[in-house]
């Protein structure tokens, strides 16, 4: 029964909680038991807030029994990437540098999830400051991929968020994404991960990596669950200077609307001109395109700028901003950073001011061009990663700089993008595509993703963890 409860979607559990067929205390206990039984194999949590979760669950139970139901997240157990600040609860960014950091205030997204009545199960592991890579000198073991804990890397940097959702240890989680850190681990762990439009979700209280490119967003088993979470956290925040003061759409209302006639641009040249993807990944993507055609979408090949153009822009902006954030600590607490992050962080200190400005000028052009191209399409689709999860091994820190990924393009342009599962390879590791939308049109990509998930069997398969 525990497994069954933990594998419910947020939408399913929300309906049972609302009708009082399911107790929030029972549901929370089921997750806490499962975390205790399984998490030692995948290390997705850095902190389990058991007592606080049970206190919240009991309060929610009383509220729902008193007809004070708040909505579809009321009583839903969730986790937070440990980059997101929580009042009175340690927030480390998975780093020894912040090992004793207990924030005084919640991040805006945390306040909004609390207002929606969700139950926090704990803080989830990540790559150090969202930019490191697994190395043995860190304060916690590296998060493992639940589809194959011995083999698989989860991708990064929202490692614990993706792993915990896939393993049924939380129903949903928040991640952050500066160059693919929601979509990449969502892809490798076979879940749905949404990077909303830049400015749609407040970054206040989210430890920064790169002010220009950081996004916070939901990660869950289905696109529908991402829509439910997005509804709770989206909206203007005067405390975030990048926040957009625009109305928030109803993200779940249109999920079941027709996709027939939608115009979708297919971007193949990113990976055809760079590193060709593995055959199974390519086949799964082509299969997904056929499915979208069956759903009535009109597909057309579209050509954007070369992948390198976006990557050049991203790497200069992100590395310079990362160094600016960490300059003081890098100089004063250098040894507290993991070895891999030390190596990755330092180049940012060598980027010249003029190069940073040229990158921001080039970015403005890339944004404008992308929005012009989008006039002809409702959405675009492309691969999310070049293949399934790679083997977990000591990562060579220089690799990060050597090849452009397929996700950072949309951090540069600010468009929303969701990663969804498109099947499994011969080792049962998940494969994925990303669906990209017009700025502030998350509703359309959620609708396409939901239609695809409903039409395919991939949401019925879970990792075998017992």
């Amino acid at each position: 029964m525990t497994g069954e409860l933990c594998y419910l979607s947020i939408a399913e559990a929300g309906s049972l909680l609302k009708s009082r067929q399911l107790s929030p205390v029972e549901l929370t206990n089921a997750f806490l038991d499962r975390i205790e039984a399984i998490d030692s194999r995948i290390h997705s949590f850095v902190l389990v807030t058991r007592e606080e979760a049970l206190r919240q669950a009991k309060a929610v139970e009383i509220e729902i029994a008193s007809n004070r139901y708040r909505g579809p997240l009321h009583g839903i157990p969730i986790g937070l990437k440990d980059l997101i600040e929580t009042a009175g609860i340690r927030t480390t960014a998975h780093s020894k540098v912040l090992i004793d950091h207990i924030p005084a205030e919640d991040a805006t997204v945390v306040s909004r999830l609390k207002e929606a009545g969700s139950i926090l199960l704990g803080k989830l592991g990540c790559l150090e400051f969202a930019h490191g890579s697994p190395s043995p000198d860190q304060a916690w073991p590296a998060v493992r991929n639940p589809w194959n804990p011995e083999h698989g890397f989860t991708g990064g940097s929202s490692t614990g968020s993706a792993s915990a959702v896939a393993a049924g240890l939380v129903m949903g989680a928040l991640g952050t994404d500066t160059g693919g850190s929601i979509r990449n681990p969502a892809s490798f762990c076979g879940i749905a991960g949404l990077m909303p439009t830049y400015g749609r979700i407040s970054r206040k209280g989210v430890i920064p990596y790169s002010f220009s490119l950081d996004h916070c967003g939901p990660m869950a088993w289905t696109a529908e669950d991402c829509a439910i979470m997005l509804q709770a956290i989206a909206g203007y925040d005067p405390d975030d200077p990048g926040s957009a003061n625009l109305p928030v759409t109803d993200y779940t209302a249109g999920l079941n609307m027709e996709t027939r006639g939608m115009r979708i641009g297919v971007v193949r040249h990113f990976y055809e001109s760079h590193l060709p993807p593995e055959d199974e990944t390519r086949r799964a993507f082509e299969g997904a395109l056929q499915e979208l055609t069956k759903l009535g979408a009109v597909l057309e090949e579209v050509k954007l700028r070369e992948l390198e153009d976006y990557d050049d822009c991203k790497v200069i902006i992100a590395e310079a901003e990362f160094f600016a954030v960490h300059e003081k600590d890098l100089l004063e607490k250098y040894q507290d950073y993991g070895a891999n992050l030390r190596f990755r962080a330092v180049p940012g200190g060598l980027i010249r001011a003029v190069d940073y400005i040229q990158a921001q000028r080039q970015r403005a052009k890339l944004v404008a061009e992308m929005q012009t191209l989008f006039a002809g399409y409702d959405a675009m689709v492309t691969l999310c990663t070049y293949g399934p999860a790679p083997k977990m091994s000591a990562d060579e820190p220089t690799h990060f700089f050597q090849r452009p990924n397929l996700t950072a393009v949309f951090n540069v342009t600010g468009n929303p993008a969701i990663s969804i599962c498109t099947g499994f390879d011969r080792m049962d590791l998940p494969l994925a595509m990303q669906i990209v939308g017009k700025p502030f049109d998350e509703a359309t990509i959620l609708r396409i993703a939901h239609a695809y998930e409903q039409a395919t069997p991939w949401r019925r398969q879970r990792p075998c963890l017992g």
Binding site: E308, V315, I316, F323, L331, F343, V346, A359, Q402, R403
Partner: protein, 67 residues
């Protein structure tokens, strides 16, 4: 990545590191030079298509300040 034509010398990189206030272990210096070359190549490529008046993306409209 293409266009890594200029491989900065260890001496050049050491000077840049000194300016940034960072000391890197000697065994990492060679790998680090390759990363710096990659960043320099990216910075060179970024200049294409830019016109004199092209504004950076980081420019933002100022808002009325109210106490």
């Amino acid at each position: 990545m293409a266009d890594n034509a200029h491989q900065p010398s260890e001496q050049e990189v050491t000077l840049m590191l000194k300016r940034a206030g960072v000391t890197l272990p000697a065994e990492q210096l060679e790998k680090f030079c390759a990363v710096v070359a990659r960043l320099e190549a990216a910075a060179r490529r970024l200049r294409k298509d830019l016109k004199r008046a092209d504004e950076p993306a980081s420019v933002f409209p100022i808002r009325r300040w109210s106490p």
